[in-house]
Structures are given as C-alpha cells and as structure tokens.
C-alpha cells in the first residue's frame, strides 16, 4: 500500500493538513496506517550514503561491545538493567542494522526502530561521556530519527509538532500577532504594579533580543510578564521581535531537519533585522540547543554560531545578579531544602553547570541548597526529554523513566525543585502527579520575582 491519508512520507506544510492530522484523535488512524506503510529502501540507502559519514560509520563499526555505556544510561538503570536497554545495543540493533543491511529493512523493523528512537532514548548524550571511544549514541539516535521521519515512521504528536513549525514557525498554532498581543496584554496586567513597564517590539540595536517558548504565549503568559518585569527592574535595553520570536523546535525532536532549518532561520532573520547586541532565550533547554547550539549548522553558518551572541536565560540571570542589576532581599531567599535540575541541553551540552549554581548562591539562604547525585554534567535526564513528555503512545515508558529523577530528588530531601527548562519542569510536574512525593517545583523567574528588591524609582506610588 503506497501511503496512508495521515501516515505517509510527506511533510505537513499547510494549515489544512495540520488540522486534518490533529482531528485524527490520538493518531488512531495514523498508527493503523503505519502498519501498512512501505519502506522506501532505495531512498533510505541513498540518504545514508549521502549523510552517514566517517563519524557515524566509525562509531558504528568501532564499538568494542564493552558495555560500559550501560550504567551511564538512566533508561537502562530504571528498567531493571534490561540488557536490551544498553545504549550500544539499542543503536546497533536499529541504525547499525539499517546500515549493515543497506537499508533493506521492513515495516516491522522500522516501527520497532521508532519505539527505540523515541521511547528508549531521550538524546540526553550522557552515554557519550562514558564511552572510552567517545561514541555519542544520543547523536546517533538524533540521526536515526531523521531517517525514520523521512520514511514516515514518527510518533503522531511529533509529526504534528514538526508541522506546527512548518506552518506557524512555532510549536503551537500561535501567530505573530498572537505573540505581540499576548505580551502587551501581560504588560497591561502588571503595569500598575510596575509603573513604566512596557514591551518594546522590533526595536533596533537593543542590548537584548528576547525569544520565548510558544506555550508561554498560549498557556502560561505569566512567564512573559515575569521576563518583562525582570528586564525592567534590571534596567535592560531590551526588545522582542514580531517575527522569529519562537526559540523552541519540536522539529528537532521529530528529526525534521528541513523544518529545523526553517525555524532557526526565522530567528536568525530577526537577529539580522534588529541587530541586538545579544539574544537571550527563555528558560528552556531544547530551545537553546536547537537555536543556539545546533541551529547554526542547519542554517549553514560556518562559524557554528548564530548571527549575534546568544545566551541562555540562566546566563543572563546570573550576570544580572552578579553585577547587581538585580538585587535580592536576603530575608526572602529560599529557606527550605531545595535542589536544582541540570537540564542536559545546556548543562552537559553547553557547560553552564556553574552558572546555575551561581544563581543558587544568590537566591537560596546558606545551608539549604542540596545538589542531586550525580549532578552537573553527570546528572540524569529528567525522564521527559527529547519529546518523550508529549508522546501518548509511549506514556507508560515515560512514566517509568521518571523514577530515576524521582529517586534522585527523594535522596536530596528537597521540598522544592528548581527546573529552568520547560521539558524538565513538565517532567517533574508529571513525576509529582504520578508518584506524589510531596514536592513543589518552579522556574527561576517566579522565584526571583518573589525576592527581588524593586529599585526606588520603579516602585508604584502608594
């Protein structure tokens, strides 16, 4: 059977096809059609020949089958050390096999590979740190996802997600005017409390261009307000952009590299148009990874860097606290056991581990901060990364994966978990919903808001 109505090798490029796919509740028909989806062996092998080069080939060939990666993988550990969860096994039995068989694999194989790629790996890159050869299976699973996506074997929610980016240049159906409108609405809501609060739009030459996560616009606009307020209190010369404001990329989780390119290019276009000194992103891990770390390569930028210096929100916050742009009232610091989640996308994969701890030193009263074990670049994935949080088909596996983080948190004895990343925040919320260990969790913005000292000249008249 050639292609299904919903499950096929085409990409979602129109609002119409996006709505149609959304209407297939839960992907019921989509997954049924997937059982009949053909594998285009020729195309698959051609793609591999063109894109699977030294680095990946050598990784696949050279693997010494030593099994040292097993203990590094939280999914292996949390699934009772199931040998089929050993990272090397997972990648060799999928990508390794496809390469060995020169693309001659069948539908059942591809569906199993889909489950492995999206339910047995969150691309947290921890295994790469523990392999003596430096084989990064997280990177290989990213590559595999690309192959699977091209062939149409991708989870329903991610096909939609990639479609969202293609149609709206955002992970949700939020238009540019929705974004600006919502930001302005938030400013209105808070202006009484913060006289002079405003959101500059499309200001050229500002010090900071702020980019966000579309779901903040859709469901959690308080986040936008908090960001605006903190920039305002810090006296920053900042702006948002009316187009190219979305920093996230579900397309990256989906393996849709073409859509990834389109998405980051919209942000880079804004940077080039408005020429800010720096771009600051919101508290989101994969958004930073997509737009700042991997993005330049999708966009063909030889420097490997976006058009302007781009930093994660925690870098801006640490700097603001360090330089005194934001001052904290010592009485209002956190005085309960608190720990911090090390989001893989900017801790392990961008080295910001000490930055978040610097922030802790400002906002937590001495003696209350407890690190997880292990921590920093050796910390484990929250359990929901790489798109795991949103895929209905793999919910049970995701819920199991949360146990690792749950146990880490229990071991710290913390009552509050700080998670400066939307995915980690979601995962920890779900962890609490599922296992009820009695914790609270928070982004940094609301915490800082509750303890920041408002400068005299910015206080409202009483």
């Amino acid at each position: 059977m050639p292609e299904g109505r919903f499950c096929n090798k085409q990409t979602i490029d129109t609002e119409e096809s996006l709505k149609a796919l959304l209407a297939d509740t839960g992907g019921r028909q989509y997954y049924e059609e997937m059982n009949a989806l053909d594998v285009d062996h020729k195309a698959l092998w051609q793609t591999i020949q063109k894109t699977c080069k030294s680095r990946l080939r050598t990784w696949l060939d050279l693997c010494a089958h030593c099994g040292l990666c097993a203990e590094s993988c939280f999914l292996y550990l949390v699934n009772d050390r199931d040998p089929t969860q050993v990272p090397a096994y997972k990648i060799q039995s999928t990508l390794g096999e496809i390469v060995r068989r020169k693309g001659r694999v069948d539908n059942a194989f591809m569906q199993a590979a889909m489950e492995t790629a999206w339910a047995k790996c969150t691309c947290c890159n921890r295994c790469g740190l523990y392999c003596p050869y430096g084989i990064d299976m997280g990177v290989m699973f990213g590559y595999l996802r690309g192959l699977l996506y091209n062939q149409g074997f991708v989870p329903w929610e991610l096909k939609i997600g990639a479609g969202m980016h293609r149609v709206y240049r955002a992970q949700m159906d939020i238009t540019d005017s929705d974004f600006v409108e919502t930001f302005q609405w938030m400013v209105e809501e808070y202006e009484d409390d913060y006289p002079g609060l405003n959101v500059p739009v499309d200001k050229e030459g500002a010090d900071i261009l702020y980019t966000v996560n579309a779901r903040e616009v859709k469901h959690y606009p308080e986040d936008l307000a908090e960001a605006a307020i903190l920039f305002h209190l810090a006296g920053e010369n900042w702006t948002v952009t009316s187009s190219g404001w979305e920093q996230t990329s579900l397309a990256m989780f989906a393996g849709d590299w073409a859509a990834c390119k389109m998405q980051v290019e919209s942000v880079y276009a804004a940077m080039e148009r408005l020429k800010p000194k720096r771009m600051v992103g919101t508290e989101c891990g994969h958004a930073h990874r997509a737009t700042v770390i991997e993005g330049p390569y999708w966009a063909g930028r030889k420097s490997g860097k976006p058009p302007v210096e781009s930093i994660h929100y925690v870098e801006w916050l640490a700097e603001a606290l360090r330089t005194g742009k934001l001052k904290i009232d010592p009485e209002k610091r956190i005085k309960q056991p608190v720990t911090i989640q090390d989001s893989c996308n900017y801790i392990r994969n961008h080295g910001l581990k000490e930055i978040t701890r610097e922030i802790m030193s400002h906002i937590v009263a001495p003696g209350y901060f407890v690190d997880m074990t292990p921590n920093r670049e050796h910390n484990y994935c929250c359990g929901g990364g790489g798109g795991f949080n949103g895929i209905g088909l793999f919910r049970p596996q995701r819920n199991k994966a949360l146990i690792t983080k749950r146990d880490q948190i229990l071991n710290t004895g913390a009552k509050l978990v700080i998670a400066p990343c939307h995915n980690c925040w979601d995962a920890i919320r779900d962890l609490e919903e599922e296992y009820k260990i009695g914790i609270h969790w928070s982004f940094l913005k609301p915490l800082v808001m509750s303890m920041v000292i408002v400068p005299e000249h910015l206080r409202p008249e009483e």
Binding site: L62, G134, H350
Partner: protein, 226 residues
Amino acid sequence: MYQFLTGPMFWIALAVCLIGLTVRVVLYIRGLNWQLDRVAYRSYPKLGIIGALRSIGYWLVPFGTRGWRRQPFMTIIFFGFHSGAILVPLFLMAHNQFLAEKIGISFGWTLGTGTADFLSWSVIVCALLLLGRRLALAEVRILTTPYDLLILALATAPFITGLIARYELGNYSFWLTAHILSGEILLIAIPFTKLSHIVLFFATRAQLGMDYAIKRGGERNAHMTW
C-alpha cells in the same frame, strides 16, 4: 618457514598494517563533514586542538574520567591488557634486536626481562578476565558476537605463543614460528578490523573532544572530561 615469515612475510605484514592504518586515518578525516557532523572544525583550531588533546589525555589515564572511576574492575583489566599489548610488541628486547637487524633502527629503550614477563602475563590474565566479563555480565553478553571473541583471540595469541616460546616449553622452534605467524596475522588484520582502533581511538576521541570544545561548552572552560 621461519625464513619466509621473517623475510617477505614480515615486510608484507608490516606494510599492510602501517599503510592500512594510515589509509584508515586519512579516510576518517576526509569523511568528516562540518555541517553533517555539526561541528565547526576549522573555525576554532585552537579550541579544537585543546579539546582533542584533553579528550584523548583524560581517557588514556587510568581513572582519569568519571567513566573509568565508576568501573574500577574494568579499568584495571583494560589498562592491564593494553599496557602490555602496546609496550611489549614495541619495546621487547628481542623485537628491537630483530628490528635493528631488519630496518637498521630500533626504539633504543627496551623492557627489562622481569617487566616484559610481567606485562605479558598481564595481557593474558586480563584477556581472560575480559573474556569472563563478556560472558558473565548480561549487558556485555547481549552485545558480544563471535567476531568480538575472534578479535580478542587474535590479539592474545601472539602473547600466549610468545610466552610459551620464551619459557621454552615444548618445541621451541614450533612455538616461535607460531608466535611470528600469529603476530603477522594480527598485523594484517589490524587495519581491516576493529583493531584499527589503534589509531581510530585517537581519531574518534579527538573528534568528540573537538565537538565538545567547539560546540558544547568547551569555550566556557567547564572542566568537563569528554
């Protein structure tokens, strides 16, 4: 037989090994692609080199990385095997004398007899332990194929035959020949099998080191061991 093995066969084996390894490295480097790999190799040469060296360095030191430290048993038998596997072929007095005769140069410094014996035994004992590990641990067993066992056998055979010859057990001539033959089979096999990790270890480690140094946090001097 002996003449053949120490004559033309030696040259062939050595050539195949050295040329083969060079080809592998060259092919590896040529097959790197900054955009597909998503690492701006050429744009940050200094960062890249430092990253590459750090990555190689930390993993070459026993317990130098958290990975090694978390697996003490494996670390010990790994380094126990490799130290002998590298030092003995290169610095055994007998090998150096042979090289001096054939090529006219040798490495100068050689191992003392006791050290050489110890290292050779270390190789064999550690190889057995590595084999045991392969069979005993479920996470390694699932990965193990006959090919892995063959590689281990290929690499260990010269040491076994070498020690037998060294202790002059049985027919000295036979075991010496067996030793030279197994050594040359090993040399020829190196570029065509996973044994090419002799150079590719450095290549892949350097690559990952550059990746992390250039793209994933190296400029922050984050003191991570990748």
